[in-house]
């Protein structure tokens, strides 16, 4: 008994304390509770890891109680830990505690301090549930819970209209995905009579391919919602309305990767559904390149990183889709490092510029905030796949697998890598070089914020060496051979360096170039700059029709016309018939009862005379 339940229990306790009594507490106490609870669960994860023995041979599985039982269907409150879960646990609790620590500095001057940390702890609780869950339903509980917390935290600045609308958007778009997920669960229950991972995956190979494909595609719908893939990615950029630590923790490092985790968890199902696999790969690739192009043109620093998050998630899905699950998870881990770092760095920059987010009003921060700058350099190197940084290994593994699967996927991926490098460094140059164009005097952030940055910087530089995920997961997902061709690596690295160099040329050496290019491209540029008008398209294609349709068709025609007409017609008819029948209504209850008794007697007589009556009576 490893008492896994303690891991989510700590943050939940923190949530209860801060949420219920936080209003009364001084900030120091709130910080202590929030950080300590997450650190405690991190420590328990370490304890489980050290004492857990060989997880590959015998994963931990703990059954606490039967949650719901009805007929043969039975769902227990189970937690299970194998190596995949262990990796996720480390990422969630580790980065989670770093970001909690960072947030104590970043949120210091905000309203509703305790509310923020209560939500953050609640998020940790649900995220850990999601990761630990031993069956789809527990996973789904966490899945919904993190969605809720994301909604709460995106709309944290309740006074800002844009924030609340962004929260609604995130929630509603996620509903679509969750709908798919729940359908998938229903299918699983119908076909396998259980939701427990081990049972489902042992039974899955036997099932017909068509079923598995349907399940996998529905799961994919859920994943696209939670992990912001085409077509449901639109909520993530808007979610940047939330406080930056939230963007770093929820919308970069942990929650948005839940989809990838879920697909990897269901690898057995996907492996037996080749069509679904193809779909995953294509969607991932499309999202990667699509989001990357948008990222090229944004000016809001957080938006840039948001789109890069979307495109990096696309990479992970590409990895999953081409069957390199371990590579996908690897990229998940490294991405958690450097993207969290990017966001926290961005947060630090915004902090330095007194809440300014538009990069055109920044610049020249290097001489003010050297620490932030240095860490941001590490992160940018890592994300553009600079050799021997964290991103280099994982991205390389994915691209190699993609090449082994379909060469053209590799090429598209490489081009995307180039674009990624370009816009990330573009952001860096625009913020840190040149003249400061903002207002007020920028200042370096406090150590509570820089400390986590440094830790994350080390991780993003060396993470590839520390965590060689494919080796760890070797027993679950055998490493695909054939991706050992070094030339592929050289090409991708070359693209990355090229992107860096180009951005350097365009935004430091010769800053006139961008305007000329924008002018030259003209319409195309506006198209990309406005994110391909996807939001507008959705608005006209989905939202408006729904609203108008429901008003005109459902309300005016169906409801008022047909239903009301029918009802009224029935009413008049009934009044006509009732006019005749009402003569029976003496208004005296006892006489009604009499007629009931008479009816009962008649019924008994019928029962008596028919043979079946006797059969029924005499059992």
């Amino acid at each position: 008994m490893q008492n896994l339940w303690l891991i989510p229990a700590f943050p939940f306790l923190g949530f209860l304390l801060n949420g219920l009594f936080g209003r009364k507490f001084p900030k120091a106490v709130i910080n202590l509770i929030a950080v300590a609870s997450v650190l405690a669960s991190f420590g328990w994860v370490l304890k489980v890891w050290s004492s857990g023995g060989d997880l590959a041979a015998n994963p931990i599985h703990e059954h606490y109680f039967t949650w719901m039982q009805s007929g043969q269907f039975n769902v227990g409150w189970d937690f299970a830990v194998d190596k995949l879960t262990m990796i996720m646990l480390f990422v969630v609790t580790g980065i989670g505690s770093l970001i909690h620590f960072y947030a104590t500095g970043y949120m210091a001057h905000e309203e509703g301090y305790y509310r923020f940390f209560a939500y953050l702890n609640l998020f940790m609780f649900f995220m850990l549930n999601l990761v630990l869950g031993g069956n789809y339903l527990i996973l789904f509980v966490g899945w919904e819970g993190v969605g809720l917390c994301s909604y709460l935290l995106v709309g944290f600045y309740i006074v800002k209209k844009s924030a609340t609308t962004a929260g609604n958007k995130a929630f509603i778009v996620n509903r679509i995905g969750d709908f798919g997920f729940s359908l998938a669960m229903f299918l699983i229950v119908v076909n396998f009579k259980t939701l427990d991972f081990t049972q489902v995956f042992s039974a899955a190979p036997g099932a017909p391919t068509s079923t598995l494909t349907a399940i996998a595609l529905l799961l994919l719908v859920g994943a696209t919602g939670k992990s912001a893939q085409i077509p449901l990615y639109v909520w993530l950029p808007d979610a940047m309305e939330g406080p930056t630590p939230v963007s770093a923790l929820i919308h970069a490092a942990t929650m948005v990767t839940a989809g990838v985790y879920m697909c990897t968890r269901s690898a057995v199902i996907f492996l037996h559904a080749p069509i679904a696999m193809e779909t995953v790969a294509v969607i991932g690739l499309a999202t990667a390149v699509f989001a990357a192009t948008i990222g090229l043109t944004q000016y809001d620093i957080k938006k840039v990183y948001a789109y890069s998050t979307v495109s990096q998630l696309g990479y992970m899905f590409l990895g999953v889709g081409v069957g390199a699950f371990s590579a996908g998870i690897w990229h998940l881990v490294t991405h958690a490092f450097f993207k969290a770092l990017l966001f926290l760095g961005a947060g630090s920059v915004i902090h330095a510029c007194h809440g300014e987010q538009d990069m055109r009003h920044m610049g020249g921060l290097w001489k003010y905030a050297k620490g932030t700058g240095a860490t941001l350099i590490c992160a940018s190197l890592a994300i553009s796949g600079f050799p021997f940084t964290a991103g280099y290994f994982s991205k390389d593994a994915i691209l190699g697998a993609a090449y082994a699967h379909e060469p053209w996927m590799y090429w598209v991926g490489v081009v995307t890598a180039g674009m990624t490098a370009f816009y990330v460094w573009r952001a860096f140059w625009m913020t840190f070089t040149g003249e400061y164009k903002g207002h007020g005097h920028p200042h370096e952030s406090p150590w509570s914020m820089l400390g986590p940055l440094v830790v994350l910087a080390i991780l993003s530089l060396g993470g590839g060496f520390f965590f060689n995920v494919p080796k760890i997961l070797d027993n679950m997902f055998p490493i695909k051979e054939g991706a050992e061709d070094m030339t592929l690596t050289y090409i991708s690295v070359a693209f990355g360096l090229g992107g860096i160099a180009l951005s350097y040329y365009m935004y430091v050496v010769n800053t006139k170039v961008p305007e000329r290019i924008t002018a030259g491209l003209g319409g195309l540029y506006t198209l990309v700059y406005n994110k391909y008008f996807v939001d507008e398209i959705y608005d006209t294609a989905v939202v408006r029709p729904l609203v108008d349709g429901s008003t005109t068709v459902l309300w005016h025609v169906a409801d008022q016309g047909i239903i009301d007409g029918a009802v009224n017609g029935v009413g008049t008819e009934a009044r006509g018939i009732g006019g005749i029948l009402k003569l029976l209504q003496g208004g005296n209850i006892r006489s009604y009862a009499t007629w009931v008794v008479v009816g009962a007697v008649v019924l008994l007589v019928v029962m008596g005379v028919t043979a079946m009556g006797f059969a029924a009576v005499g059992q």
């Binding site: 009805s70 003496g586 005296n588 006489s591 008479v598 009576v617 005499g618």
Partner: protein, 167 residues
Amino acid sequence: MDLAFFFVFSAIALICAINVVLQRHPISSALSLVGVMGSLAVLYLQLGGEFIAMAQIIVYAGAVMVLFIFVIMLLNAGAESRSGKASWTAPLLGIPALLAFLGFTVYYFLRGFNNAGVVKFGGYTGGSAAGVGISLFTDYLLPFEVTSVLILIAIVGAIVLARKEMD
């Protein structure tokens, strides 16, 4: 032994039931009804339904009937009045029909259950608290949950109805 038991308590139940019908005063009827319920509870014990027997006393005799008496005391309801135009359908048509009903049912029971086996103390113990509980929370879980909703609705309805001002 079992026979004597059955006769004693069925006799009490019958007398009390007749009393319920014949007594003019609501309170007398109510207490006779309590008597019926008590003796039925004893019969439940004989039939092996311990839990149900206790629930019968706690819920019916202890709560529902107390509510009745409470209301009777509240309205200070005296012996019923004979005013108002009575309906003669009930006695004239109802009583014969009722007798026919009784005859048929008794006939069917004798006819259909003459070899249904016998009841004796300890002959069947499935109705213990454990048995009822297990069955209630596995096979009948959904109905159980639904009844909770029903009770909630009943509470709301009762409060709405019994409010002082009906605005």
